[in-house]
């Protein structure tokens, strides 16, 4: 090995980080059932509303942007020609 191994070069480190991340997700959902949130809207009363909304928004964003890409993507030097 000529080059030094960095933190993210080791797969076990990444695996470990992802595991911690998944546990945080789990804890946040569990917290929603234990702690009481004040709500203004009817939607907010749904358990884990924010978690579901965040996940769905992100997926929707990526899907819609991929459709947008089909419409507006051109070559890199499009305006220079």
């Amino acid at each position: 090995m000529s080059e030094k191994k960095y933190f993210f070069d080791k797969p076990e480190n990444i695996k470990w980080i992802i595991r911690v991340f998944y546990s945080i997700c789990l804890l946040l959902v569990i917290a929603d059932f234990i702690l009481h949130r004040h709500t203004t809207m009817a939607w907010e009363e749904m358990p884990a509303f924010y978690a579901i909304y965040g996940f769905a928004a992100y997926v929707l964003l990526v899907v819609l942007s991929n459709i947008l890409r089909k419409l507006v993507m051109r070559k890199e030097n499009y305006y220079d020609e």
């Binding site: 998944y22 949130r37 965040g54 993507m73």
Partner: protein, 566 residues
Amino acid sequence: MSEMPPFVLFFLAAILVIGIRGPVRKIILLATPVIAALHIWLNIDPNILSTYSILNIELTLLRVDKLSLIFGYLFCLAGFLATIFALQVNDIKQEVSGLIYVGSTLGAVFAGDLITLFIFWELLSVSSVVFIWARGTERAIDAGMRYLIFQILSGLFLLAGALIHYQTTGSLVFEHIGLTGIASWLIFIAFGIKCAFPFLHTWLTDSYPEATPTGAVFLSVFTTKLAIYALARGFAGEEILIYIGLTMMCFPIFFAVIENDLRKTLSYSLINQLGFMVTGIGIGTALALNGAVSHAFSHVIYKSLLFMSMGAVLYRVGHIKASDLGGLYKTMPKTTTFCIVGALSISAFPLFSGFISKSMVMTALLKEGYSYGWLLALFASAGVLHHAGIKIPYFAFFAHDSGLRPKEAPVNMLIAMGLAAAICIFIGVQPQYLYALLPWEMEYWPYDMTHVLAQLQLLIFAALAFVWMTVRGIHPPELRSTNLDVEWFYRKLLPAGAHRGLIFLSNTRDMILKNTVAAMRNSRDSFFRWHISKYHLSESWPTGSMVLWISVMLVTYLLLDIFVYK
């Protein structure tokens, strides 16, 4: 002394540095924003009005209240940070125009009438374009020209609006205007161009990515936030601003997701952030307006931090394409860390600056019953996490290893980023100091259990979607591309249309000439073949003889007039 407007300091410094080289010039550059901030703090009393009469018009060069004060401090602070970041650049053009740019922004913030505002509004445009042109590439020069056209146009709208406003009301004072007539709409559009309203936004996404690595940091701060200040003063509570703001929040995030140039991604993200402020101004309650102003404050710091980190990468690597970067954390760990702080702040994680300001606008939306607007804003918040919170740091510093091993950013850049990152965290942890500066009275504290839990769930699960897609390999890759936006109309359609139009016109001209000239030739030829053409009177005469005969005729009329018709 207490009546000296702060812009004077910057303009004096700009003249001074032209003749000075070396470290002394750098000291002047750094000291000017600090002295200006101290001058505002120590010498200027709040509620001061200092007016000057020029040509029977009262110009108010200094109007101080809580709204102009907080923006005054903000611009001094941001100017100071950007100057530190740009310290290694030895380019007198950029240094002088930086001073004039910051100075004119302060001039506009403290302007008490529309004419003074207009003068600084235009100075701002002319001085800022230098940061784009200084890059020197053909693309930058063209983009700078388009930028300048938009900015000058905005100034013309402002001037026209101001003059009509003066005609109808007899006053030039810049206070609440409201959308009431043609003058107010003209001024509204002028502010709207500078604020990058939808369809008027392309000057921003077109030019900022072409600016110099350090110039983009300056540009990202002043122009658009001055427009926010102007809207907050002139059009607070106009409902149309809520819908404009919501549009600004939502549409740029799609473009930001697919954009490959990371500074262009940040430019789209800038519009998205402006959307939160514009919405707050549109709601117009004390909480919402304070939200808009405080969001402008925290936004300026984390957005310049993000532009700094991408500027540092551009400075070291030479380009800023997400598709060709990655793995830079190995050799630029400090820049990476600061960039992550900026990313956490813009995503509004609790304990970072975005959280304590954006939440005010969100709460105001809920309180005033805009529930669909609130859902859109929530969607946009998840979008911010994608393009600014994850995409910027992930594709630049992690993702696949690009093999690039650039050096860490220069020390002055690291200091500027470190200070900006520290301010982001300080505002996030101790928001009471920022809240104390806010112009309107309110009771608000962002840290309660509901709010923190909701925000964490939203962000962490949006991040979970990213992790899930990346692990599964279905997250769309970054691609080298140009993405069409509204600018297509004037960069492709209009030139192509103009080109076709010109060809059509020149063909028509040729056809008309050919036909009429041929017809005239034919009639002349046929006339000459006729026997009458042989007589003296039908010959063509020189112009001189015609002039002679006309003068003879005129003299005859004159003589007749004098002697006959008395």
